[in-house]
């Protein structure tokens, strides 16, 4: 007999060992998320997928589904909480959407649209972070990194190169590149690596194709992330 739990009253089937997120995704029930990607071990760092499971706030991507659990996802309380988390992600970095190649196909932006966030209403940090354009095919804008560790996980688990890591703690946490100079150009990273394609924001960019899709035809221009799916799925089915 299949076991079920509920998300906002909708019954969701699950198998033993699945997280709330795994089961929800399999059942076509969207839970906003940024650092989660079903191909990798859950990380639970962005907290955007926070839901209330039997009264407790938990990250849906790391919390196991259990028989009969009542999970709230779309309540006003959770929307507000999620909106606050998104606003913090925006003000901690330098997210200048009008000047970013990823705009329109950025998952941070798309999740914020889905959550109807109109503006980050907090004080902006404007951290001073540099751009690494040393690699011939890739660029890193550290100001846009949201520390989701998807590139870290992809490089380690799929590419077997472990080029990326997160160093520092708290507000000083930052993305590191494993080369003597700290530059991406001095690693054996390839544009064909998984790690080059998993960035949900415009932190790791593939060069020579910026603004190749006109406004109106970009990934999230017409339909929300809940319908279109994550950046990586679209990235891997790109026809060019």
């Amino acid at each position: 007999m299949t076991a079920y739990f509920q998300i906002d009253g909708v019954p969701i089937p699950f198998e033993s060992g699945q997280t709330i997120m795994d089961a929800a995704l399999a059942a076509g029930q969207y839970i906003p998320h940024l650092c989660h990607n079903p191909e990798f071990r859950p990380h639970g760092s962005c907290r955007v997928c926070t839901v209330r499971a039997d009264g407790r706030f938990v990250a849906a991507c790391t919390f196991p589904a259990s028989e009969g659990a009542k999970v709230e996802c779309a309540s006003d309380e959770l929307r507000e909480l999620r909106n606050g988390l998104l606003q913090m992600l925006f003000v901690e970095g330098n997210h200048v959407c009008p000047g970013c190649e990823k705009s329109g196909a950025c998952q941070l932006q798309a999740v914020a649209y889905y959550c109807e966030m109109l503006a980050p209403e907090l004080p902006h940090f404007f951290p001073r972070r540099h751009v690494d354009a040393s690699h011939p095919d890739l660029a890193i804008d550290y100001g846009r990194c949201i520390l989701c560790e998807l590139c870290v996980r992809a490089s380690r688990e799929v590419d077997g190169k472990s080029i990326f890591a997160i160093g520092g703690r708290g507000i000083k946490a930052h993305l590191l590149v494993d080369s003597p100079s700290g530059k991406l150009g001095d690693t054996d990273m390839s544009v064909h690596d998984k790690a080059a394609h998993v960035c949900p924001v415009g932190a790791i960019l593939i060069k020579h194709r910026g603004y190749d899709r006109p406004i109106g035809q970009r990934l999230y221009d017409q339909r929300p992330v809940s319908v279109v799916g994550d950046v990586i799925q679209a990235e891997e089915t790109r026809d060019d």
Binding site: H95, V96, P98, G99, S103, E116, F126, R129, Q222
Partner: protein, 178 residues
């Protein structure tokens, strides 16, 4: 019932949001049947009086921006951050990656092609702030309408909802940050 009064200003912006405001096209005729305009580049009135709505384009980059913004806050019942620059500083805030000294030196002293450069210091030129600030970091802001610029349709939806006292709720395609 008195007609709502609207004022608009562009601070550290490019006037793109004002151009987009004009992009509501024929709907401008309907708008002026219901509202009066106070200080705005559309009327060329220079000083703001008591208003119901103030639309602010652009962030705060210099002392004059702050003065205009404070006057708007004092006079407007509802103040709106219109567009990316008012909301988070936008493109002008990319200068926040550098110190003011570095920027002035690059622009006026050491930049390419400069000969005997000097930093402008005419008293009529408003002093630059240390960085470009989103307007809600300077005054209380009541509403935010994102976009670079917000589309004419988004501005129209927003004004209709605001002036009729409804909650602001934009359709998916009218919320964008670029």
């Amino acid at each position: 019932m008195t007609r709502p009064r609207i004022a608009t200003a562009s601070l550290a912006g490019c006037f793109g949001c004002h151009m987009s405001f004009l992009d509501i096209d024929e709907r401008l005729f309907e708008l002026v049947r219901h509202v009066d305009f106070d200080r705005t580049p559309l009327t060329d009135i220079k000083a703001i009086g008591p208003c119901d709505v103030g639309l602010i384009e652009g962030g705060c980059a210099n002392a004059e921006n702050v003065e205009v913004l404070r006057a708007f806050r004092q006079q407007c019942k509802a103040l709106v951050a219109l567009g990316a620059c008012a909301i988070n500083g936008g493109i002008p805030a990319m200068r926040n990656q550098f110190s003011l000294q570095e920027i002035l030196a690059e622009s006026y002293l050491d930049g390419m092609g400069l000969d005997q450069g000097q930093i402008p210091n005419d008293p009529e030129i408003p002093l630059l702030l240390d960085k470009v600030y989103p307007i809600h970091e300077v005054v209380q802001v009541d509403h935010f309408l994102p976009g670079c610029p917000p589309s004419g349709d988004a501005i129209w939806t927003f004004l209709q909802e605001l002036l009729s006292g409804q909650a602001i709720r934009l359709p998916y395609t009218q919320i964008h940050y670029d």
